[in-house]
Amino acid sequence: MRSIALGVSLFAVSVGAANAAGKLNLYCAAQEEWCQVMARGFEDATGIDVDMTRKSSGETFAQVKAEESNPKGDVWWGGTGDPHLQAAEEGLTEPYVSPMRDQLHPWAISQATSAGDRTIGIYSGALGFGYNSDLLAANGLTAPACWEDLTKPEFKGHVQMANPNSSGTAYTTLATMVQLFGEDGGFDYMKRLHANINQYTKSGSAPIKAAGQGETTIGIVFMHDAVAQTVAGFPVVTVAPCEGTGYEIGSMSIIAGARNMDEAKQFYDWALSAEAQNLALEVNAFQVPSNMGAQTSDKAPDLSSIKLIDYDFKKYGSSDERKRLLAKWDSDVSTLPQ
């Protein structure tokens, strides 16, 4: 039994009645509830047992990398695209072309082609910011509508964002500014923004949680995270910046050397279906699904009304470009006095 599971699973065909249903080790990097409904949904749809472990994207990447020589997970579902691209670059994930591809938005496919088919887009979410309306009023500030507004002197000490060195969200912000305003203009913007930042948090969604609790006025985050705060009952208003903005592509990859490769591919195809992606409506997930037939929550920010830049995931997802931009941010921006 064990050696079958351990063996080169490409050739491991499910044998015997006990094994017919199979099982799947799912590494899930989205929020807990979403992970739960995905795992249970797949079990209901196929009868395959799912062992789901939920971790943040970075933690999942670290685990997949540490387990490289003896993989324990089969599919890595969810979480922002950069770690998936990084894993693809390092050969930690398996190329796979799903028959479901013709149902997907072009951005989901382009994520796959830029990674040599080792990953694929499952949802996307635009970058933006949210503010705490109570605090804004208490401080007598006008509501910001554009990226440029955040650098106004009256917002000094009111803006919070994550540290791009530790958070994929903040790195997306940096890369967005570089693409929106050009490299010099982007860094100039980051420097002016730096003067208003009250804290660079470690985790990407922390700024909007702080805004929800009234610990900062404005937090720069993915807009779906800001909407989740509002839905949870906090006085948070979500803003799509007027200049346009970048976005993330939440991704899915099959782990190279997965022990349950057949089940992994089954999950992969299922997770791209409209039916599976509609499960997001049951939990508070406000991203845009990658299947064109799937529904988007009515509370989610409407991507068609947001000016999205043509984000170059291949270039800005590569580790060389990332290292260069982060080093430049470290030396030119983070060392400035505030």
């Binding site: 685990q63 387990e67 020589s69 958070s167 900062t216």
Partner: protein, 737 residues
């Protein structure tokens, strides 16, 4: 008496380990079996199916030929059963058989993995290998232990440590497990510091990264920011000193005052230790944050805008003082209680005032406690991860930097390894400083001679500030916990303050149906796993810790100092590093235990063992060696002495170790994040998931439940372990106060 044992020709211990070795080799599955304890393997093809076959059957079927050299090593000890212990052949055979067998097991385990040879040079040397092997199972484990203890019996027979089989075995065992579960994974992790991006090794790169300005910069002296190393160091020293002082204050109130509600005070002081991470941080934000109750109240009072003052050093300091004072207290209470009243009474008889007595007698005798408490506070602060994450603001510290070097956008394990080395360097320095300060003085006061005194009360000049500080800190702790309890029962903390029990119901609902109780709450799975793992880990942790402490204080052997530091190592390293290093080391054969509950138990044992060691050392250095000696002279061997004399006198240390390891197993987070799996999810990792999902109410309700469960557990442990009876009078009224 010793002379008699060494003339005997029956060696019960030797026979035991020889039998164990053969049982492991002939009966138990050699390789790892999933769900071993369900014993399904017994009916599923054992003993011939190669997945479940014992080593002997594998060889009999012509498989795994590299196990053949183990057979002579198992046979050899049988030849010396009839010989005397003093016979040189006895010792040599055991040394050779045990040493060779153990070394061969390690070598074949490291050399042959799931893809055949694990290194290219092995394939070049021996030619290609078509076979492979998985992680070792119980069979291999028991055979390895047998070899190890045969080897230590050989050492004992050569006359080391007075030929004491128990002590040599204990030293060998502890060294082996610490090497396997501390040194090996950490070395594997730290090696990343020298690896370049291309995969080669580079020393200059290491130095370039090591002397990075982000680590050692002194910008804070000139208006910008300082490097993380200085931040961490400053914070850790501050926390070490202040927790020691606060711990001492509480220990003094409990032992040297007429305070009436000692029991309640004791409960309050240990409360923070049983609090899951993030909860204290959240409570502090609710009190002192920008929109916090206290901040807005004070700002209104003096007419200024509320500020984010708490984020940064002040916030981390408050949270860490709350969290780590109990540890200092637990170490100090044992020591402060242990200082013999006869000494203090002698001083008073010699007409010393209370103040003189305290300053020149009591306080110096408490030095081992103070030093160990400081060391623990320092190290805990260095390795703490949750509080800086929540309250750190822009005050970066090593532990969070390490975490985000691994899981952050940079994916830079090398940087994590280098930062860990800096952290280890500081810990090492603190450790040696502590040794230097303690010096070679004797702190022995429990001598077994008449010792029926009562501790004198504190001098008045000291008592007043001590009372004030204890009262203030106690009240503060109570307020924080009041906030937490309240937070678990409101709809949405800070926004909608309607009282509700819904969070508890979501987490812990049960339904009574025919056929029993159904645990429908969403938290039950992780709750039971956590309970089970903590319950298994706690006694093992205490045992390993106290045996180590005993060896360190009572026995002399070569390499004792580095051994002592080695036992502190896993504690000093942040959990994140431990977590990742455990995956790196234990996801592949020979020891393949990722995804099991075992890896959680083991990580807890070796992470929390140092507290047992420290508490044990602090208490044991107070016990006079003449106690051991008289026991030995009366014919007991060292195991009996340890069991009957030392152990009962160590009850406070045992309790501290048990409580601490149980509680830490329930509240640890940073190492656990990497080690939990679908089947073994822990409470803390569940709570973090909830916090990330904005379910603060549920997270806090779960934490509150855990607090009560742990309170009950601590009470139960206190009952089970009991108090040390040193034969002192109990009440002060009868004493000379």
């Amino acid at each position: 008496m010793r002379a008699i044992t060494s003339e005997k020709t029956t060696h019960p211990v030797l026979i035991f380990w020889i039998v164990a070795g053969w049982v492991g080799f002939v009966l138990l599955p050699w390789y790892g079996v999933e769900e071993f304890w369900f014993l399904e393997w017994l009916t599923d093809g054992w003993p011939t199916d190669s997945d479940y076959a014992p080593g002997a059957f594998l060889l009999g079927q012509g498989e795994k030929p590299w196990l053949w050299p183990l057979v002579p090593a198992l046979l050899a000890p049988l030849l010396v059963l009839q010989r005397r212990k003093t016979d040189p052949v006895f010792a040599y055979v055991l040394l050779a058989a045990g040493g060779f067998g153990f070394a061969w097991l390690v070598a074949q385990g490291l050399g042959i993995g799931i893809r055949g040879w694990t290194a290219d040079w092995l394939a070049a040397l021996f030619g290609p290998l078509e076979d492979r092997q998985y992680g070792m199972g119980y069979g291999a484990l028991i055979v390895a232990s047998a070899f190890l203890f045969l080897f230590t019996q050989g050492i004992a027979a050569r006359g080391a440590i007075n030929g004491d089989v128990f002590v040599t075995g204990a030293i060998g065992g502890v060294i082996a497990v610490v090497t396997i579960f501390v040194f090996f994974p950490i070395a594997k992790m730290l090696a990343a510091a020298f690896i370049t991006e291309e995969g080669g090794y580079s020393i200059p790169l290491f130095f370039a990264k090591f002397f990075d300005n982000r680590i050692w910069g002194l910008g804070c002296l000139s208006g910008t920011r300082c490097g993380v190393a200085w931040n961490s160091l400053f914070l850790a020293v501050l926390v070490g000193v202040l927790t020691t002082l606060l711990g001492l204050v509480f220990a003094l109130v409990l032992t040297r005052s007429g305070f009436r509600f000692k029991r309640e005070l004791r409960a309050i002081t240990v409360l923070p230790i049983i609090t899951p991470p993030f909860v204290i941080g959240l409570a502090i934000i609710l009190l002192f944050g920008l929109s916090g109750a206290v901040t807005t109240w004070v700002a209104d009072l003096i007419g200024i805008r509320p500020t984010r003052w708490v984020y940064g050093l002040p916030g981390i300091l408050i949270a860490q003082l709350l969290a780590f004072t109990p540890i200092a207290f637990l170490v100090l209470i044992g020591v402060v209680e242990g200082v013999s009243p006869s000494m203090e009474e002698a001083a008073q008889t010699l007409r010393a005032t209370r103040w003189q007595t305290f300053r020149t007698v009591s306080l110096p005798l408490m030095r081992p406690g103070l030093a160990n408490a400081f060391l623990l506070g320092f190290i805990e602060s260095m390795a703490d991860f949750g509080n800086p994450l929540v309250l750190g603001g822009n005050y970066d510290v090593l532990s969070t930097e390490i975490f985000f070097a691994i899981v952050g956008a940079q994916y830079d394990q090398g940087r994590a390894a280098i930062l860990s080395m800096v952290l280890l360097g500081f810990t090492l320095a603190a450790f040696y400083l502590q040794r230097f300060w303690l010096g070679k003085k004797s702190y022995t006061t429990v001598t077994g001679k008449g010792d029926a005194g009562v501790h004198p009360q504190m001098p008045r000049g000291l008592a007043i500030p001590v009372y004030v500080i204890a009262a203030l800190w106690g009240t503060f702790t109570l307020i924080i916990y009041g906030m937490i309890l309240y937070g678990s029962m409101v709809q949405l903390w800070g926004v909608d303050n309607t009282l509700t029990f819904k969070h508890y119901i979501t987490a812990f609902a049960v339904r009574f149906e025919e056929g029993g109780i159904r645990w429908v709450g969403s938290a039950w799975d992780s709750f039971w796993t956590t309970m089970m793992i903590s319950t298994v880990a706690a006694p093992l942790t205490a045992a390993v810790g106290l045996i180590t402490a005993y060896l360190l204080t009572r026995q002399d052997f070569a390499g004792k100092r580095s051994f002592e530091f080695g036992t502190m190592l896993s504690f000093a390293i942040p959990g994140t590093v431990i977590g990742v290093s455990y995956i790196l080391a234990f996801n592949v054969p020979p020891i393949e235990i990722t995804g099991t509950g075992l890896i959680l138990v083991i990580s807890f044992i070796f992470r929390n063992m140092p507290v047992g060691v420290r508490a044990g050392i602090a208490s044991m250095s107070q016990l006079d060696r003449s106690l051991d000696e008289s026991s030995l002279t009366l014919g007991a061997n060292s195991w009996q002495t340890f069991r009957r004399v030392i152990l009962p006198l160590l009850r406070p240390a045992i309790l501290a170790a048990l409580v601490y390891s149980f509680v830490r197993a329930m509240t640890a987070i940073s190492a656990v994040i990497f080690l939990v799996s679908a089947r073994y999810d822990m409470a803390t990792s569940y709570i973090i998931g909830r916090v990330e999902n904005n379910d603060y109410g549920l997270a806090i309700a779960y934490s509150t439940t855990l607090i009560f469960v742990m309170l009950a557990a601590v009470g139960l442990l206190q009952l089970l372990v009991g108090r040390t009876q040193i034969g002192r009078r109990l009440a002060h009224e009868q004493g000379g106060s």
